[in-house]
């Protein structure tokens, strides 16, 4: 398994994702600088959390125009698995690779805690290892995680099974308690919680590993 991890100026979870995938899962990891326009051969691509380009204008807005994002869009369009975590989720919505957008938490606080979640759909390949209704706990750490989408957009998401994860006890005011959404084909997933911080008992749990096992199972037969 060979996974690419994007690095934007201001990202601060790229090494965490690298340690989780390299150390915990034993995978090969390649870091990709935001100026790179061509990708090596990869099994999956991860956009990590942080504050890309200082999150000027809106969270993820400036990163969405980085040369690397054009390569990410091509990779996603070809069916490549893409995961956006926290700021990476914001980048994917800003780039139009995922529907909706993320705004300031309802209570204005930056929330940093372990958050119970429920799986709402198995459409995404990243969640294949879970069943709908399963609960899991992942850390959240964000100030702008309030998911926004209009009424027709929400109905479309629900009809297509694109609502991937919901918060149990909506902490940030997200529409419909949405914590993560996938694209229609399920290869692109964005979520505010941090699965990479839940890959070792030393950091309080291993629920995050299940997403990466879902990827491994999906990739397995074709490599």
């Amino acid at each position: 398994m060979h996974v690419g991890i994007a690095i934007f100026p201001g990202a601060n979870c790229d090494r965490d994702v690298g340690w989780a995938l390299g150390g915990s899962m034993g995978w090969r990891v390649t870091f990709l600088w935001h100026q790179e326009a061509a990708l090596p051969k990869l099994d999956a691509l991860i956009l990590p959390g942080g504050f890309s380009y200082g999150d000027y204008l809106r969270c993820g807005a400036i990163a969405s125009s980085a040369p690397l994002l054009r390569a990410v869009a091509d990779f996603a369009a070809a069916g490549g698995p893409v995961l956006g975590i926290c700021n990476g989720f914001q980048v994917l919505t800003e780039a139009g690779l995922l529907p909706g957008g993320l705004t300031r938490n309802q209570g204005l606080h930056f929330i940093c805690r372990d958050q119970p979640l429920q799986v709402a759909s198995q459409r995404s390949l990243w969640l294949h290892q879970y069943a709908v209704g399963d609960s899991l706990t992942l850390p959240i750490a964000h100030g702008e995680g309030c998911y926004q989408i209009d009424g027709p957009g929400l109905r479309q998401l629900e009809d297509n099974g694109q609502v991937a994860l919901r918060y149990l006890g909506n902490p940030n005011g997200s529409i419909d308690g949405i914590a993560g959404v996938s694209n229609r084909t399920g290869n692109v997933l964005g979520l505010m919680p941090h699965p990479e911080r839940a890959c070792d008992q030393a950091t309080g749990g291993t629920d995050g590993q299940v997403l990466f096992q879902g990827l491994a199972k999906w990739v397995g037969p074709i490599t």
Binding site: L57, A61, G101, T103, G107, L108, Q148
Partner: protein
Amino acid sequence: MAHFHATVRVSLRPSVLDPAGEAVCAAAQRLGHGAIQAIRIGKAIEIQLDAPDATTARQQLESLSAQLLANPVMETWSLELHTRAEED
């Protein structure tokens, strides 16, 4: 080429909660401004650009606003092309 100065105002859509605006509104009321009913916070973006004419300038700014300055999922924008300085 002519030189233009524009202001793009970006606002949260009315349907999108603005908790920062609500916090400022509550502070205004605490300070005795009881008449203040609601506050919503947006951005004003000042832009200088060169373009052959106002129509071209407007087209460029509209494209930039829709593409980058505002996210139509949760924001609306308006454009003022309000100053036209000396031409070269």
